[in-house]
């Protein structure tokens, strides 16, 4: 018991032998089995895995949205979660969406407007405060979602394939932006993706998930200097190795399906 407490002092996030099962067609389907991982404070860790490897399930548990079947997940401090879709509230403006997060955090009304503007400035959305979500492009929506997540003033930011639906150039920009914000704020970030290059572009470490049931199959430490370029050969080599692992993993499981 004391051992675990010590861990949570040092680590921003720790997951121990986490298992999650869903009832499906009268059987129990294992989404996660015995997942153990730790993320240090201020670290940016990427999880890469095929779809169906329970990555989202893990983030939902960490965000407190779902209860695990067994094991424990511990997040030190406040946690924010960014979804694959921006999931902005369609009746609120860009600023309104950010202000709601501030309001729910307990920020008083007079400060909310200024803070929201500052947060939108941070994701380079100056002048778009009054826009409604449907008046924004996909990339801009995700930036509002990022500003909203930052508005929660969380210690840990969980990101569930947040840039998966964006075009390559927009995604590139958002990688730079996220990296800059991460450097400025010292946030701890757990970033889920199915794209090995994206994982290597962003992560201090990359955890490769196995599928059905999901667990950490492999860990890659990325020692490349920042900022990294998605097109650099060094990055491609590491990403290639991860992709091979994923392919191997998927073909190994293929008959099981």
């Amino acid at each position: 018991m004391s051992n675990i407490l010590q861990l949570s002092e040092k680590h921003s996030l720790s997951v121990e032998r986490l298992t999650m099962a869903f009832p499906h067609d009268g059987r129990l389907l294992l989404a996660l089995q015995g997942v153990t991982l730790e993320v240090e404070q201020g670290e940016l860790v990427c999880i890469v895995g095929a779809s169906g490897s329970g990555k989202s399930t893990l983030l939902n548990i960490l965000a407190g949205l779902d209860e695990p079947s067994a094991g424990r997940a511990h997040v030190h401090g406040r946690v924010a979660l960014m979804f694959q879709e921006a999931a902005l509230l369609p009746w609120l403006t860009a600023a309104g969406n950010v202000e709601l997060a501030l309001e729910l955090r307990g920020v008083r009304r007079p400060q909310r407007v200024d803070l929201a503007r500052e947060l939108l400035h941070r994701v380079h959305l100056d002048g778009f405060e009054k826009r409604l979500p449907h008046e924004l492009s996909g990339g801009m929506k995700q930036r509002v979602a990022l500003a909203r997540a930052l508005a929660q003033d969380a210690d840990v930011l969980l990101m569930d394939e947040p840039f998966g639906a964006l075009d390559a150039i927009t995604r590139d920009r958002l990688h730079e932006e996220l990296e800059r914000i991460w450097t400025d704020t010292g946030l701890t970030i757990l970033f889920v993706t199915h794209n090995a290059r994206e994982a290597v572009r962003l992560g201090d470490r990359v955890l490769v998930f196995t599928s059905r049931p999901g667990r950490v199959g492999h860990e890659v430490k990325v020692d490349l200097p920042r900022p990294r370029s998605l097109d650099s050969p060094e990055l491609a080599v590491i990403a290639g190795r991860i992709t091979d692992r994923l392919k191997h993993e998927m073909s190994g499981r293929h008959d099981g399906n």
């Binding site: 949205l65 509230l89 709601l100 729910l104 492009s137 990339g139």
Partner: protein, 286 residues
């Protein structure tokens, strides 16, 4: 570095930003809204006049649009007639306001409390399809021939539709939005206030609109069947017109009832469009 990045993003935004279509001239758009309705009106009046000209029924049973609108013009200046309109509108507004309060409260309670949902969720749906005039004999027994009986019927007609609209709105909130609310720390009533109720608004407005239609119908039925006191409500005047075989007056009142219904319905339509525009659910040319 940072400014360079910002400039790059700004340039990108300029490309990405959805371009709003230039607003049409207000006059032109008003005309494009108006002319189909005017055309429909002309067709209806022409068919009506044509039927009268065939001599299918004598003039005193089915008068043409000319005499009816002439009569209507006289009526509008008549103090008794105006009083009748005022009495009916007052009843409609009071009955509807109470129905909104009851329907909304019931909708929220049933949505929030699982046992209540199981107990009366489907009953609310059943009540919606119940012709509220069927309650009127009971209402007369309970309250006597007075305004309370009319309000009872109006509320029973409108409240279930309003509660049903709210309930279906709450049921159809995107689960993702609820998760977003929970991640931001909204719980219980806060989740309702900030996420669920605003998300249910379009469906709620639909329920309000349907509730108004039911209230207006129930009120007319109630006023025609139950002559209350000596007040000259619209329904009562229509009944008197029939008793005196005054077809011109009867049709003139029908026109008034129709126009009130259309005007109020269009108010709900405007509200509905405003919401859909805000949510980005309108087509570019709608």
């Amino acid at each position: 570095m940072a400014t360079e990045l910002a400039a790059g993003l700004a340039a990108r935004d300029a490309v990405e930003t959805t371009v709003r279509p230039p607003g049409r001239m207000p006059l032109a758009s008003a005309w494009s809204w108006l002319w189909p309705k005017l055309a429909a009106l002309v067709v209806v009046l022409a068919v009506w006049q044509a039927v009268v000209w065939t001599g299918w029924k004598p003039d005193y049973v089915l008068p043409g649009p000319g005499p009816v609108f002439l009569r209507l013009a006289q009526d509008v200046g008549n103090a008794n007639f105006d009083l009748g309109v005022a009495i009916t509108l007052r009843r409609a507004l009071i009955g509807y306001a109470i129905a909104v309060a009851i329907g909304t409260a019931a909708g929220i309670l049933v949505a929030r409390i699982a046992v209540l949902r199981k107990a009366i969720g489907s009953a609310i749906l059943g009540l919606q399809s119940m012709p509220s005039i069927a309650w009127f004999p009971l209402a007369i027994l309970l309250f006597g021939l007075n305004e309370t009986a009319i309000f009872f019927v109006v509320i029973l007609g409108a409240a279930p539709a309003i509660a049903g609209g709210l309930l279906s709105g709450v049921d159809h909130v995107q689960p993702l939005l609820i998760r977003v609310g929970r991640v931001m720390g909204a719980r219980g009533l806060g989740l309702y206030r900030h996420i669920i109720l605003p998300a249910a608004l379009p469906s709620f407005v639909g329920g309000l609109k349907q509730g108004w239609a039911f209230a207006w119908r129930s009120l007319m039925a109630g006023e025609i069947i139950g002559i209350v006191g000596h007040q000259l409500s619209l329904g009562q005047q229509i009944q008197f017109a029939r008793d005196f075989a005054d077809a011109e007056q009867l049709l003139a009142i029908i026109v008034v009832i129709f126009v009130i219904g259309v005007v109020i319905d269009s108010l709900f339509g405007t509200l509905d469009r405003a919401i859909r525009r805000r949510w980005g659910l309108l087509g570019a040319d709608a």
